[in-house]
């Protein structure tokens, strides 16, 4: 009889425990190596670019380093003025030494052909500064001391404490000022955070509008998806598969095609208005403006996101056993009570999954609002695109994108927690 106190071993004498552990480690490694190429690819083409964008939202060297476009050579700029900022605490009245440093730096800028880009950097935070920089740099070489008076002769605005505050902020390449700007905040002359003038507050308003419209669209999707998901789930499979085409075809059709269709349907000379006029419901002069405004965004986005609500609802409703509702009815519940207390609670997981998904997708929507949104149907994504392509304030675009991304990631985490990404289904 074998000695039962001796550890179990494999055929070649290794302890069983160690052999099992190494086999499992091998299996884990093999699984991981299958995933590794893709993980590396996604990290390179997706995570790294976004990380770089986040870095850009807090880092703008426009006032500290000049990069030559041709050679790519980097030169530190505004050296004297930055040294003055370092020696003097915030709120110090700029003295003759400060103006002298500024003029010296402007002379260097002119040699580097950089006044425009430096002025642009300041212009992001204080409108009208770019022309002051280009103008002053053109004359800087001929300026005589006392520099303060000479500069003020060029432009009174050089004494503006706000300008000096902005230059102080920009004198460090790392700054949170773009996040402040993205939240309609700014630093005043002594460096404390205040909200900007009411007529310049656009971003918070747009974030709020994005949230409200997304909530409305999610709710409309729920309202439209619930009845048809229920119908699909209770019909025999033969019929429901056929009807499912109505849900899946839009899902597979190009986004631009669906957006174009809505333009065709809803524009003032479009199919819907023409039908209303032809049937006499509307006068020819009182055609409804349904596109290129908020209404257009809401209608088109509800249509585009509806399948994302129907599919999770359907997959939750299909397995619900009809005998529960029948039992409730046989115990005397009215059909409304049976629905409210028996059927509806069982569909709540599907509602949660669909609503979260639709909301996440709606918050970041860009194409449809850009094409059919007009002026008041734009969402926050459109503003990011505006700063990327038109105003070229890339750091502000990155800061806005970072705030949006933060919100999305919280919702994504919540979705993974509540629903699980594994349960994401596509048709």
């Amino acid at each position: 009889m074998a000695d039962i106190s001796a550890p179990l071993t494999t055929a070649d004498g290794k302890p069983l425990k160690a052999a099992l552990a190494s086999a499992q480690a091998r299996a884990r490694r093999r699984a991981f190596f299958l995933v590794l190429p893709l993980l590396a690819f996604v990290l390179l083409t997706f995570v790294a670019p976004i990380a770089q964008m986040l870095h850009r939202s807090v880092h703008n060297p426009g006032f500290t380093t000049h990069t030559d476009i041709g050679s790519g050579e980097k030169t530190p700029i505004m050296v004297n003025l930055r040294a003055w900022f370092k020696e003097n605490p915030p709120g110090t009245e700029p003295d003759e030494a400060a103006y002298e440093a500024l003029v010296k730096d402007l002379v260097v800028l002119r040699e580097l052909k950089a006044p425009g880009s430096v002025g642009t950097r300041i212009n992001y935070e204080r409108a009208g500064s770019r022309s002051m920089f280009t103008k002053a740099a053109r004359r800087a070489e001929k300026l005589e001391p006392p520099y303060k008076e000479a500069m003020l002769d060029l432009d009174e605005d050089w004494a503006d404490p706000e300008l000096w505050q902005v230059m102080r902020g920009a004198s460090s390449a790392y700054t949170f000022n773009f996040y402040l700007a993205a939240l309609d905040l700014a630093r005043d002359a002594d460096g404390s955070i205040v909200s900007v003038d009411e007529n310049r507050q656009v971003y918070v308003k747009l974030f709020t509008r994005t949230l409200l419209l997304s909530l409305l669209i999610t709710f409309l999707c729920f309202l439209l998806a619930y009845p048809i998901a229920h119908l699909l789930a209770t019909l025999p499979l033969r019929h429901s598969n056929l009807l499912m085409i109505f849900v899946l075809l839009p899902f597979w059709t190009s986004l631009l095609v669906r957006t174009t269709s809505w333009i065709v349907l809803l524009q003032s000379q479009g199919v819907v208005n023409d039908t209303l006029v032809a049937t006499g419901i509307l006068d020819d002069d009182s055609r409804i403006q349904m596109i290129y405004n908020q209404t257009g965004t809401i209608i088109a986005m509800t249509h585009i996101l509806l399948p994302f609500m129907v599919l999770p609802l359907y997959s939750v409703m299909r397995p619900i056993n009809p005998s529960y509702v029948r039992a409730a009815r046989s115990l005397g519940a009215t059909s409304w009570t049976a629905f409210r207390r028996i059927y509806f609670p069982q569909t709540v997981p599907g509602i949660g999954a669909g609503a979260l998904l639709v909301f996440i997708l709606a918050v970041g929507y860009y194409i449809t609002p850009a094409l059919v949104g007009g002026a008041n149907g734009q969402l926050i994504s459109n503003l990011i695109a505006f700063h990327m392509t038109k105003s070229l304030n890339w750091s502000l675009a990155a800061a806005l994108a970072a705030i949006l991304l933060g919100g999305i990631l919280v919702l994504y985490w919540l979705y993974d927690r509540l629903v699980g990404i594994d349960n994401l289904k596509l048709g």
């Binding site: 299958l34 996604v42 083409t45 095609v257 194409i367 999305i408 289904k425």
Partner: protein, 303 residues
């Protein structure tokens, strides 16, 4: 859901109202997609049904907008339509060039996404995969993160690494956007995959490569093809990344449509839209057939 015999009048009324409501919602879903098809044959440059069209008068219909797709951008569109005319169209027509670009980009990004995605899905569906949840979350995130954020990030990244204005850059970006779809469809096929089949193959002497190609691959192939089709559609329909990182002459079909809608929308857009709708009907049919085949193969019968 037939109405039981004992239903009250009120329930009957509600039942039929409910069916009408559902019908209207289905109409809302499908009408916008179907309406572009007849309108693309409009003889007039309008976006609405003319009286001739409503009267089904053949003169109200024409294929002039489809013709414009061929001739727009050609050197000599009015020449007789012989071999050299078609060569001109193939080389110069704006929409044909856009289609060529779209197909090239879509093809390579699909190959890349499908290959990497299938490999990763095989790893992810193994029970011993470490950090499964976190890695899955990262790999699915390109679908969740707003496209404008992805495009912004890629714009900075590509202009730094020199990938901007290149096909490689766009293909890599589109592959990234298609990967979540491949992962989702392939892992869905691998759920309920009977691992004793691979063990049986191994016990009969097959090495892992043979097992994979003879046993695993045929079983997951429907999922892989559906995933590939999803990835292709994603690339074929993607416009924002192209707008941000592609060169001006790298036109694709969605970019051309985007420009058309923004600048001056003409019924030519509707004829492109019609062609795209027909493509999506074909793709949907394929995916549906694949799904049924997959269910049959795996013995998952629809209840």
């Amino acid at each position: 859901m037939a109405l039981p015999n004992h239903a009250s009048t009120l329930e009957r009324i509600w039942h039929y109202t409910y069916l009408v409501i559902c019908g209207l919602i289905f109409l809302f879903l499908i009408a916008p997609i179907l309406v572009v098809i007849p309108l693309s044959f409009n003889a007039e440059p309008y976006f609405t049904f003319t009286e001739k069209m409503l009267a089904l008068d053949p003169t109200g219909y024409s294929t002039r907008w489809y013709d414009l797709l061929l001739t727009f951008g050609m050197d000599n569109p009015d020449a007789p339509r012989d071999g050299s005319w078609w060569a001109d169209a193939w080389a110069n027509a704006a929409w044909i060039n856009a289609a060529k670009n779209s197909v090239i980009i879509g093809f390579f990004s699909t190959i890349l996404a499908t290959f990497l995605g299938t490999l990763a899905a095989l790893g992810l569906s193994r029970p011993e995969m470490p950090f499964r949840r976190a890695i899955m979350a990262i790999l699915i995130s390109p679908m969740i993160v707003p496209i404008i954020i992805t495009a912004t990030g890629l714009f900075f990244f590509y202009s730094m690494t020199g990938l901007a204005n290149s096909y490689v850059g766009i293909i890599m970006a589109h592959a990234t956007l298609g990967i979540p779809f491949v992962i989702i469809t392939v892992t869905a096929t691998l759920v309920g995959f009977d691992h004793s089949l691979t063990r049986a193959a191994a016990s009969l002497g097959a090495n892992p490569t043979t097992t994979f190609f003879k046993i695993t691959m045929p079983l997951i192939l429907p999922g892989v093809i559906s995933g590939a089709l999803f990835a292709f559609v994603t690339s074929f329909d993607e416009v924002v990344v192209v707008l941000f990182v592609a060169a001006h002459d790298q036109q694709t079909i969605p970019r051309q449509m985007w420009n058309g809608i923004r600048e001056q929308i003409s019924p030519a857009i509707l004829s492109v839209a019609t062609i795209l709708v027909l493509i999506s009907i074909a793709l949907l049919t394929t995916v549906e057939l694949l799904r049924r085949r997959s269910e049959r193969l795996r013995g998952v019968s629809p209840q």
